[in-house]
Amino acid sequence: MLRLDGVTKVFRTGVFGRATFTAVSDVTFHVEQGEIVSLIGESGSGKTTVGRMVLRLTRATEGAVTVDGRDVAELGRTDVRTYYGSVQGIFQDPFSSYNPVFKVDRVLGMIRANYLQGLSDADWKTKVRGSLEAVGLEQADVLGKYPHQLSGGQLQRLLIARALMLELRFLVADEIISMLDASTRIDVLNLLGDLKARGLGVLFVTHDLALGNYISDRTVILRRGRVVEMGATPKVFGSPAHPYTRMLLTSVPHLSAKWGEDEIEAPTPSSLEEAPDGPLQPIDDDHFVATRGER
């Protein structure tokens, strides 16, 4: 289980780092294996910072990120390799995630050189075929090609295939489909759903509520670095309790109802401004909302 316990991240800004900026404040939630948790927030909410802390790309100022009870920030050199063998990240822009002069074979080969040195050639080929099949790519379409010869959807799926070659248990997917076209993005999303059935835990970071609602089992709503509402996705989206969540939901453009015709009542600007962001309290089974009060 991937757990975040009271995770806080403070960045130093200003001249000589005299000012501070709290990007993430006291965030606690967990991701089980075989579960997709979406982390939803607007720009500046700290959602990417949370993903980066899970991937050890930045260190939490307070609190801890643990995988199976081990603090990821405290791992030694050999443990880090094992860690990245089971937790991987994929980011928004597939076009800049690749080295443009490396062919696909070499991109995949780097996994073998780093993590799977003992593997025979025949086993490696089977593995490549298997993981490409799992993401719905034809070997002939991608092997031997340079990144610029492939479409965004193919590149993004290839990154997932690359991660799948490892004994992957958790995936941090940070806005992975924002840059894809509408006709191909849903396939990548369905792929995450299929991988979930195989026991993969996914932290799905997004700003798009419709995508989060479609794919995730649980939802965490982040505002200004604090969790304001979280719980089972149908509950958070079906009966949103926090004014901020209601505001987000009433702002989403639908294809069936115009703005202002929603069933959910839009919050007033003042209620939004004064909305609580204190400790989370349960209001239902697996549904938590921020209350007033200091943390």
């Binding site: 607007e42 720009s43 479409s151 959807g153 076209d181 509408a182 006709s183 191909t184 993005r185 849903i186 396939d187 999303l189 369905n190 759903g193 700003h207 509520l209 419709a210 995508l211 609602n213 479609y214 794919i215 996705t233 149908p234 989206f237 505001m247 987000l248 939901l249 702002s251 989403v252 453009p253 639908h254 294809l255 069936s256 115009k258 703005w259």
Partner: protein, 317 residues
């Protein structure tokens, strides 16, 4: 008719030949109409928007005419077009947030732009101030540098600035794409408000997001691989699309309320054809589940039902 575009072809010159980004596009926009142009990346929607105001160096008009308020626009002539820009045709660019000069205060920049058009800043000031107030900004923004404003504020400044001379046509290219949902809603509603108040006569909204268009546009035009695919009133297009591409595209959009476990949406297999050497006939043929022999022949973009246009043999039948 405010805008009439007739058989417009705009190609990009490259070393390997012409990329036929816009290949024979005919449509018109009525007075007071907000027309949405939707499509995936590379379908030619941005090329279309650009060719109505300013072609960049690699673009070449091969054929076609653009008429605005009965006047033929010299779109192929960069200099001659200058007379119309800002006064008659205006644009809110794709990254409006970075469209402002970073070393000019907002007020001074507006004053310079107006004087370039022979308009007095002092005389325009009361109107400018009124419009800024309308979008929720005070006069104090005029004394600030762009860096002091947030993304949403800059977007609103650019919108007010682009429409200050009451152009006949406003082109808004991916105006809301980089914004958070709450700001997106505010900016989109502002476009409608500007039209309602007569700041602009007609608007073309270019976006990949059909659900935003459904909210604000009167008609939606769908493009694919440099061609028009379908045109219909917004509500009709989203409720009962005629062209297979529009049907599949709408079917791949997750709406809030649709869940993976209950209903699995599907994408469109394959990818759009290369526009360097586009295939003969219908360009969606290779990905279309309904394709048959006749699709090797190019389907005309015709009226298939009252007020509804589509380029598909099956839709016409």
């Amino acid at each position: 008719m405010t805008l009439v575009v007739d058989n417009l072809r705009v190609y990009y010159r490259t070393l390997r030949g012409d990329v036929k980004a816009l290949d024979g596009v005919t449509f018109d926009v009525a007075d007071g109409e907000i027309m949405g142009i939707a499509g995936e990346s590379g379908c030619g929607k941005t090329t279309l928007g650009k060719s109505l105001i300013r072609l960049d160096g690699r673009m070449r008009v091969v054929e076609g005419t653009v008429t605005l308020d009965g006047v033929r626009m010299p779109i192929e002539d960069d200099r001659a077009m200058n007379e119309y820009r800002f006064c008659d045709v205006s644009i809110v660019p794709q990254y409006a947030m970075s469209a402002l000069n970073p070393i000019r205060k907002i007020g001074r920049m507006i004053s310079e732009l107006l004087s370039a058009r022979g308009v007095s800043y002092d005389e325009t000031f009361p109107e400018l101030s009124r419009r800024l107030a309308l979008v929720g900004l005070g006069d104090d923004v005029l004394e600030r540098y762009p860096i002091e404003l947030s993304g949403g504020m800059k977007q609103r400044v650019v919108m007010v600035l682009s429409t200050l001379l009451n152009p006949s046509l406003l082109i808004a290219d991916e105006l809301t794409s980089a914004l958070d949902v709450s700001t997106q809603k505010a900016v989109a509603e502002m476009l409608v408000e500007f039209r309602d108040r007569g700041f602009v006569k007609s608007t073309i909204v270019i976006t990949h997001d059909l659900s935003v268009l459904y909210q604000i546009a009167d008609t939606i035009l769908v493009m694919y691989a440099g061609k028009l695919v379908e045109k219909a009133p917004a509500a009709e297009l989203t409720a009962s699309p005629k062209h297979p591409y529009t049907q599949l595209l709408l079917g791949s959009l997750p709406e809030v309320g649709v869940r993976f476990e209950e209903k699995r949406l599907t994408g469109i297999p394959g990818r759009p054809p290369s526009l360097l050497n586009p295939p003969q006939g219908c360009r969606f043929r290779a990905r279309c589940p309904l394709a048959f022999d006749k699709c090797a022949e190019e389907p005309p973009f015709t009226e298939v039902a009252p007020g509804r246009y589509a380029a598909c043999w099956k839709a016409a039948a």
